[in-house]
Symmetry: none
Subunit: 195 residues, 4 copies
Amino acid sequence: MVSEQAAVPRRLLQQATKLFAKKGFDRTSVQEIVEAAGVTKGAMYHYFGSKDDLLYEIYARVLREQTAQLEKVADSDAPLRARLATAASDVVVSSIENLDDNTIFLQSMHQLSTEKRKAVRAERRRYHERFRRLIEEGQSGGDFRADKPADLVVDFFFGSVHHLGSWYRRGGPLGAREVGDHFADLLLSMLRPEA
Amino acid sequence: MVSEQAAVPRRLLQQATKLFAKKGFDRTSVQEIVEAAGVTKGAMYHYFGSKDDLLYEIYARVLREQTAQLEKVADSDAPLRARLATAASDVVVSSIENLDDNTIFLQSMHQLSTEKRKAVRAERRRYHERFRRLIEEGQSGGDFRADKPADLVVDFFFGSVHHLGSWYRRGGPLGAREVGDHFADLLLSMLRPEA
Amino acid sequence: MVSEQAAVPRRLLQQATKLFAKKGFDRTSVQEIVEAAGVTKGAMYHYFGSKDDLLYEIYARVLREQTAQLEKVADSDAPLRARLATAASDVVVSSIENLDDNTIFLQSMHQLSTEKRKAVRAERRRYHERFRRLIEEGQSGGDFRADKPADLVVDFFFGSVHHLGSWYRRGGPLGAREVGDHFADLLLSMLRPEA
Amino acid sequence: MVSEQAAVPRRLLQQATKLFAKKGFDRTSVQEIVEAAGVTKGAMYHYFGSKDDLLYEIYARVLREQTAQLEKVADSDAPLRARLATAASDVVVSSIENLDDNTIFLQSMHQLSTEKRKAVRAERRRYHERFRRLIEEGQSGGDFRADKPADLVVDFFFGSVHHLGSWYRRGGPLGAREVGDHFADLLLSMLRPEA
DNA sequence: AATGAATGAGTGTTCATTCAT
DNA sequence: AATGAATGAACACTCATTCAT
């Protein structure tokens, strides 16, 4: 009644995350999820309105955490370049730590219902915009080159971050923080003012 | 009996591409594809062994074209930095021109059968490696900084490229080549040797 | 703790009646009923053995009332034609006043369990037979034509009564008693002995 | 390959009709229907879009036939009273001959989708109105009493007709035509002008 | 008297694929 | 080269009911 019973909803989310990441949302059946979690379908539908809901809850948690983390760093009183570097490195580290959620994020967002997709997109935009303002701040302050649209730089960088799931392997030559620092360094390099 | 009948297999591939990109591989039924192409299921199974086959053919074509393009540029006798810049800009332009195929590529690869996935991965690796060698060449020649693993830079860059489908909109403020040149420029900037 | 709490079982029956009439027995879920009544499933199963039970209770009440009403009228010492007219008009009025119960009656009887269906049928037969005896009395006494089987006349008439739910609308041109009187009049007319 | 294979769609409709009448639409599963018809679910969905469709097709056929029959009789050049008597008797006979379809009609109409229900209702109204015009014709011509709304008489009569399924048993004391003639006679009697 | 988590059998429907023609 | 009827397994989801509390 203690360890096995780790809260049914939590167990469902855990197993769903694992399976969605491994096989994709559409290729994972509700049956597989509930079996992996050791409960019945009825139990799942008692807690979640639909399979979509499961996906959405996974998204929502990751988004919430990453946004919170970004805002904390971006609003700190460290120098600008340090704030951007930390934010960039942090998002890489957290993406690697939650590689499954991240993979799902990237691959399955378009399978959500329109309504929920809207909610996710809104949250994502908020994240994107906070990051962009950091860059714009540096551009107007002279820290960063101003000849690249800040939006484009953000999209460029987050493409790289989202792509981590395609190549990063735990136990490989680089640790999460190492990759994060490399990525942050590359980002700052590309923003260095010419000459 | 001439224009309408633009080769059944070609029409099937065209419509499948469009639909896979719009709704995802799993969410697209064979019925929808054949209806969009104006043929019957039997006809489709006459030309393609399975739905997977359709996906594979789409991949194969894009991969073949991009690899050919890269090799042509990489093996030319232009200066190294120009070769990398051209290769980078070109892959962005071609990705934008085939935004649908690109989206499919990114989202549906893991839905292929193991065997075909292997073939695709092999071709992709070939592409990746040619690109990496270009960078390594610059690193050993002193054109580029050597403190970043070339692999990591390639993954960083192709993350950005694959991500184009998530934000690039035709008719937006930037043309395909403009984005390509910005991306190439950012890539070269991040590889600039430290003062 | 007084007005809102108008006896849980009563509230359940009320809401069930409304919902069954609107959507049909099978299309109404226990969940909907308990939500409409503002209680939980457990509470419902505390008072009623099953969903079927709910339906049965609704039937039983209506049947009991209509049978009682009929017997009072039929056994009175008014002249025969007046007794039949009153009985006919009354059943129309009461059917209109309980249009919901009536609709359910008609549409859902065959969804009861065999055992309960038997009980309902027995009660209905009793009703039917009391009505028939009224007609037979008139036929042997010369009040009514004798060339129509009394059973057939009863079925003819109650078809019309059961059908009320399909066309009668409150607020329409005719009041309940008006329809009742028309129906009673039609019944007596069709029983008039031939010149 | 001849008798057993009596056209799959026809067999499906036959069995569906029988089962819907016996157990009600909601209590009949698609599985039961296809088993009774000796085909698979896939086959059923090849011919019918949904379970609803099956119900609708049953309705549509009966309605079409009854409307055609009514119009033929009503537009003939027989005397008015004869035309009404024939129409009334005919609809009883055809209702008895298709007792199953009739039962379904009465019990399951509200389970159709809104759209299809509209179509059915429109056709029914057309039927109802042709019948009503027949009565009105007699009322203005002096054949029938004029103190009863024609609409009410039609509803009264069709209640009786729809109710046939609840009591008429094949092999009982009365044949279909006998019941039809009794019903027609009762209808004419109730419309006789008061002495 | 009442809760609400959990069950498990069942529902209508979809779909890639096969095959006789 | 192409049809279209048919399969059969799978799917997401529903629901009346139970039971420990």
